[in-house]
């Protein structure tokens, strides 16, 4: 097809479009829908018995804060990245959630080393399938909601967008799981909560490459 014919064809098929709201508005909508949903999920499943004691501990709160920050920064980055030309600086935009995620990992590693016998505790591989199920289950709806929001935009970096969307969803699931799982052992938090988040985010990159192809939907 010649370019002039393509122009005629595209102009003929172009109807009015509903403009996408600003990424910050879309982010606010996603957060407003996802956070209450996650809270409801925690209430329905039933929080850990010592939840009141746990939330009064600074380490618990610090870990929860970095996990939630990772999730929210990842969601914001994914939504910005889905708008062509909206990314201010690749480093700032994509690294912010990774830095928050690193703070979460470093925090856990620090707690593990200060408590001693860190290598042995890690090698025991305290992974519990139930935690993985809770992380995935709680992150599922926010994840699909974010992916469908990205598909309505035009993500040019599909793998990055997919990874960030998955990170946002599963980190939110991991934050909620902290209120369900009674094990505060940093070795378990690393192996059973953080590693699944990293692995699932990598799978999100693969899914993004495949399912965020807005040029050939």
């Amino acid at each position: 097809m010649r370019t002039d014919e393509l122009i005629v064809e595209l102009a003929r098929s172009a109807g009015p479009v509903r403009r996408l709201p600003n990424p910050s508005i879309r982010f606010a909508r996603w957060t407003a829908a996802s956070v209450p949903l996650i809270v409801c999920g925690v209430i329905v499943i039933g929080p850990r018995a010592d939840v009141v004691t746990a939330v009064s501990q600074p380490t618990f709160l610090a870990i929860a804060a970095t996990t939630i920050a990772t999730s929210l920064l990842a969601a914001a980055s994914a939504l910005v990245l889905a708008i062509p030309g909206a990314e201010q600086s690749p480093f700032q935009q994509r690294m912010a959630p990774l830095i928050a995620g690193s703070a979460w990992a470093i925090g856990l590693a620090y707690l593990l080393t200060t408590e001693g016998a860190s290598a042995r505790r890690l090698l025991e591989w305290p992974f519990h399938l139930l935690c993985l199920i809770e992380i995935v289950g709680l992150g599922l709806i926010p994840g699909f909601a974010l992916l469908s929001m990205l598909r309505r935009a035009a993500p040019l970096q599909r793998a990055w967008s997919g990874a960030l969307a998955a990170l946002a969803a599963v980190a939110l699931g991991a934050a909620a799981t902290q209120f369900l799982c009674p094990l505060d052992d940093p070795a378990h938090q690393l192996v059973g909560h953080l590693f699944p988040v990293v692995g699932l985010s990598m799978l999100g990159a693969l899914a993004g490459r495949r399912y965020l192809n807005w040029m050939n939907p």
């Binding site: 097809m1 370019t3 014919e5 393509l6 122009i7 005629v8 064809e9 595209l10 102009a11 003929r12 172009a14 109807g15 009015p16 479009v17 509903r18 403009r19 996408l20 600003n22 889905a82 708008i83 062509p84 030309g85 909206a86 990314e87 309505r152 935009a153 035009a154 040019l156 807005w214 040029m215 050939n216």
Partner: protein, 185 residues
Amino acid sequence: MTAEQEVQSAGLMQQAQAGDQAAYASLLILLTSATRQFARARLGAVPWIDDVVQETLLAVHRARQTYDPGRPFAPWFYAVASSRMIDVIRRERRVTSRELPGDVLPEPIVEETSGRDEIDVEAIHAAVASLPPRQREVIESLKFQDHSVREVAGRLRMTESAVKVTAHRGYKTLKRLLRGRRHED
């Protein structure tokens, strides 16, 4: 893109988002030359500049709801154009890495063909004619009329992927039909 062109493009895009087809056509014409200049400046005089232009226009079309009139037009447009240009470059590299120039091709090995393996053009035409209408149209356009996948997609109002899938299904049906015919012979 000059500052004046940017202002003009932003205005036209706003009108296009509201459904003004004439404004949209003007915008696409403006973007055609902008994309061509952009691609030439980066790629030189490659023969597939038009592919970059067309891919960019299609991408602008599919992403037009993401343009925010409160933001400058040029970063939005050049982000789309760069991404499409990179995709076209990758595709061209893939194609050229699999192709051999004519002068290094080995001499074709001519073997005597038995009557059984000779191509029966009439049988192929008959088999194509018996395909379902969509498959027949796609295969005739691709193989008998030598149109590209993109041309066929444009003419039949299908996506390029749909054309490839329809052609693939058609080939499978053809294979089955021709095998059946051979067994009958």
